[in-house]
Symmetry: C2
Subunit: 222 residues, 2 copies
């Protein structure tokens, strides 16, 4: 099919800016996390909760990707972190050139951690390397326990999986064991955190894991 | 940006098969509904509920679009309607050529109503005309009340909006009035149904409206 060949070509053109982003972040020892998930999975709310736990000990920045509005960047500024909004218009994902351009707005020498919240989309962003250290995929229990099987490219690319909104489990038909078994069959090494920004479940554990990764990067570990 | 120009060209190539689909459906007087929404918005569950109400009086078919698995088609077969699954691999939307190809599996003379459930994605499918009579956008109250403002192309293309999972309103932060005001500011003519497949709220009203549209098409109205 034509569109698949074209997409490959475009992804190819993404490799150079992705390498440039990766080089800059390595030089400045800033850990970057590509945050992915469906619209409404709770990505921004989770980043707010993580930022409020981590901002006392880490210097945090965030790049927000949305089709329209600067609402998410405004939310993150209120959570006390420097935020930059990218609006993509009709664009369904961030690409590395956008991130490279956005980095110029940050003083990377004064940052430890950079979140890059992608456009809400469980398909297209999987194919676009942003030069990140790892990918955090946020999936809400309200989305149904069939999502790993139905969207395998995204799950295959995720290093860390946050199963979000666990406070809603009593009210929805969602089998966490079935979901996690399918996710692990696609990505056996994925690290899983069950989280809820309402109850606070798991947010501390995920924040601790991120802080550990930041320390490893600052220490020059690979 | 390069990808936007390419997308326009591809959308242009979609016009001919979309017209062919529309022509076939007009000739056979089958009403086709393009069903859109995020992953986990509850599209399939809503179609199951609508099918169980409508199948006594209407002859229904469904085309299911997913990256992988035939699970949704199997669910719809169990709901008593003829179902065909399209798997797109890494493809983020259905296009008209896929639908035209799928139509050959149906006896259109023996159908009144065809649902086409698109890939779960609140961005890309907005740009692809499938030859449908109208677009039904399904949004769950768990997705947050900012979705219309953040994904305007999809909302601008929706004729009917089903605000789904209203049974979960007591457990989430979602202001229906704010959400609907933003949706209507983008698409003033949109018809709104508040629905829940759990409580049954609104499903009958939406089914009645669909049956009315089917009767109008069979009567040759435009």
């Amino acid at each position: 099919m034509v569109e698949i060949r074209v997409a490959k070509k475009l992804v190819g053109a993404n490799a150079a800016p992705a390498a440039a982003v990766r080089g800059l972040l390595a030089e400045k020892r800033v850990l970057a996390i590509n945050v992915l998930g469906s619209p409404g999975a709770g990505k921004t709310a989770l980043l707010e909760a993580l930022a409020s736990r981590l901002r006392g000990s880490l210097r945090i920045g965030v790049i927000e990707g949305d089709l329209e509005t600067a609402r998410d960047a405004e939310r993150m500024e209120r959570a006390g972190v420097k935020a930059l909004q990218i609006t993509t218009g009709r664009g369904c994902h961030l690409n590395a050139a956008m991130v490279l351009d956005a980095l110029s707005a940050f003083d990377l020498g004064a940052l430890d951690l950079l979140f890059v919240e992608n456009v809400g989309n469980l398909v297209c962003p999987a194919d676009w390397d942003l030069g990140e250290d790892f990918r955090l995929l946020v999936v809400s229990v309200t989305e149904g326990d069939d999502k790993a099987a139905k969207y395998p490219p995204m799950f295959a690319s995720a290093h860390v999986l946050a199963l979000n909104k666990t406070d809603l489990l009593p009210y929805v038909d969602f089998d966490p064991e079935k979901f996690l078994a399918e996710a692990r069959s696609i990505r056996p090494s994925v690290e899983v955190f069950r989280v809820s920004c309402r109850s606070g479940e798991g947010v501390g554990a995920l924040a601790d894991r991120i802080a550990e990764r930041v320390r490893a990067k600052r220490a020059g570990e690979r």
